[in-house]
């Protein structure tokens, strides 16, 4: 009998890129990594705010605001790098397959890469439309009629899809 996986477990597995069973060892490790990431992020943001308060006395407030706005995504990126590094170090994101299942599994990964590549291309396309309108004042109709909008989005999707396939392929481990 197959145990039904709860939504929370599915979200956790998706977030941390865990393949297969989320057992007690993996759950313990991702809890530890998640706690460390939370401490790092809150500590980093607290430090950033503190620096901003002192910097506001010397530098123009707009510069401080820009630095704060840049600091937030950079802090999140830093935490994401830490999480990815720990997952790789502990091999929690390994995709273990039996030799007989390697072919079908790689095929599934290729389809998945195609899907995420397409999703990324769509996202880039909408972002380009939005940015063209917001920054340069170009209308949606003009952007839609421009070939470079499609080319840029398609290229970005292709690179992202190939990159993701490469990342997943490196995680595949054949178990004998």
């Amino acid at each position: 009998m197959t145990e039904k996986t709860s939504l929370a477990v599915r979200c956790l597995k998706h977030l941390y890129g865990i393949d297969g069973v989320l057992d007690e060892y993996k759950r313990h490790e991702i809890n530890r990594i998640g706690n460390n990431a939370f401490i790092l992020l809150t500590g980093g943001l607290f430090l950033l705010d503190l620096v901003a308060i002192f910097a506001a006395a010397t530098y123009p407030s707009t510069d401080v605001l820009v630095a704060l706005l840049l600091g937030l995504p950079l802090s999140i990126m830093g935490v994401m790098v830490y999480v990815s590094w720990m997952l790789r170090k502990l091999r929690l994101d390994d995709i273990e397959v039996a030799p007989a299942d390697l072919g079908p599994r790689l095929k599934r990964l290729r389809w998945r890469a195609l899907f995420v590549g397409g999703y990324f291309a769509l996202w880039m396309f909408l972002m380009t439309l939005g940015m063209n309108w917001w920054v340069d004042g170009v209308s949606f109709a003009t952007s839609l009629a421009t070939l470079s909008t499609y080319r840029t989005a398609g290229l970005a999707g292709l690179i992202f899809g190939v990159w993701m396939y490469g990342v997943w392929r490196l995680r595949v481990k054949v178990i004998r």
């Binding site: 069973v21 057992d23 007690e24 060892y25 993996k26 039996a98 178990i175």
Partner: protein, 62 residues
């Protein structure tokens, strides 16, 4: 060190087969066999049952 590996090999089971029987990842069985992870009591009982033995035999160190 525990005797999980000995009993698993006695049965002719792979780590993957034991992991599937117990409902954990193969990696977890590997870590337990190498003494790098201390499993919960629930998992210890699961492994003992799957291997047809008891906790003392598998995990008790003299």
């Amino acid at each position: 060190m525990n005797r999980v590996k000995d009993y698993r090999l006695q049965r002719g089971w792979s780590q993957l087969k034991l992991a599937t029987a117990v409902g954990v990842a193969r990696q977890t069985i590997n870590l337990i066999e190498n003494g790098k992870y201390n499993p919960s009591l629930k998992l210890c009982i699961g492994i003992a049952k799957a291997l047809g033995t008891d906790l003392n035999t598998l995990f008790w160190e003299e």
